[in-house]
Amino acid sequence: MPSRLRLFQRLYRGYATAAQGPLPAFQVFNRHTKLLQRERAARNTELSRTTDYLRDHVATDLAERLLLINRRFPRVLDLGAGSCNIARALIKPVGDSNERVSTRIEKLVAGESSPTLLHRDVEEPFNKEIEIERVVLDEESLPFDSDSFDAVVSAGSMHWINDLPRCLQEVNRVLKPDAPFVAAMFGGDTLYELRTSLQLAEQERMGGVSPRVSPLADTRDMGSLLDKAGFSLLTVDVDDVIIDFPDIFALMTDLQAMGEGNAVLGRKEGQISRDVLMAAEGIYRQLHGHTDNTLPATFRVIYMIGWKKGGNQPKPLERGSAQFSLKDLNELNKDKNKK
């Protein structure tokens, strides 16, 4: 028997070969589920508006960063616009200054996959203060010409994109040379309290875990992803937004109303069982709860700015072309002190 088995193995032994054709695209999220969740959330207009606080906060911070870039932006793309939170932030005066970023923008193209969410606030007064063109699109492939935007912005929607490297390449493609991409996305430790509580509860109740909270991009990854997509002069920084909720149900209801329900592929379908929910509530309170009985939820926002290469952008000098050694920096200081 053993010799026969060995013969069989010998016959079928071969070399491992690389898969033919283009590499398979990353598939982490069910985009169709995500679309349905957003549509459903936006259809309940009133509830949906009460949960704008998070996106509005991020959009306001993003507008501040855009104001620091001293330029005019004739045509700007808002990628994953949601209900146009960025447009609303742009028309407000930024911080203590009286300046409004919208005065520097001629046209804002708002791209979003959920039509109901995109058109939720069409009748609101802010639409008259800035020219908005609403386009329903898939954030993973942009239906625009190359070199056609003076800036691309995005706030709080890129964490649902499956193939982030390709999406960033697309953004780079539609940007004009030497134009900025200014974005904020949720990443890293976002909702880690909820993630750990649900994991512990499922582990103890069911004896196993199912992905309930999305895997998110890490801050460190974003720098290299932007670099790979062809951006230069990168700036990446993080801001933790911590919001206190009365209980785990309020948090989950708000997430659902934001259209931020779970859409991870391979998740356990259907709702979380009541047993796990009540267990998770107790664990959340014990592990993370404040003394005033509220539960904190962390949203880690990664802000990033990248510039498309081109124009007379500052570039690093040729390697070895330095005239002064960094080793001699001390000498320089000594000379100054003598004088």
Binding site: E204, D247, T253, A279, L287
Partner: protein
């Protein structure tokens, strides 16, 4: 077809959330049990505490 009454518009999860909110003592006891050894969770290790919590929630739901 009946029109939805105001009572029917409250989502079931809200009833449930309220019921859980009434069982803070049991909920805390369960959380403490998990907290004592959260690096080594096994199925049913806080069964007693959980059943107390569940009983309380069921009672609160019926009220």
């Amino acid at each position: 077809m009946t029109s939805p009454s105001s009572a029917a518009r409250i989502r079931p999860i809200e009833h449930f959330a309220k019921a859980v909110g009434k069982c803070t003592v049991e909920s805390n006891a369960y959380g403490k049990c998990i907290f004592l050894d959260y690096n080594n969770i096994t199925k049913g290790m806080c069964q007693v505490e959980f059943l107390r919590l569940k009983e309380c929630v069921l009672r609160a739901v019926k009220k």
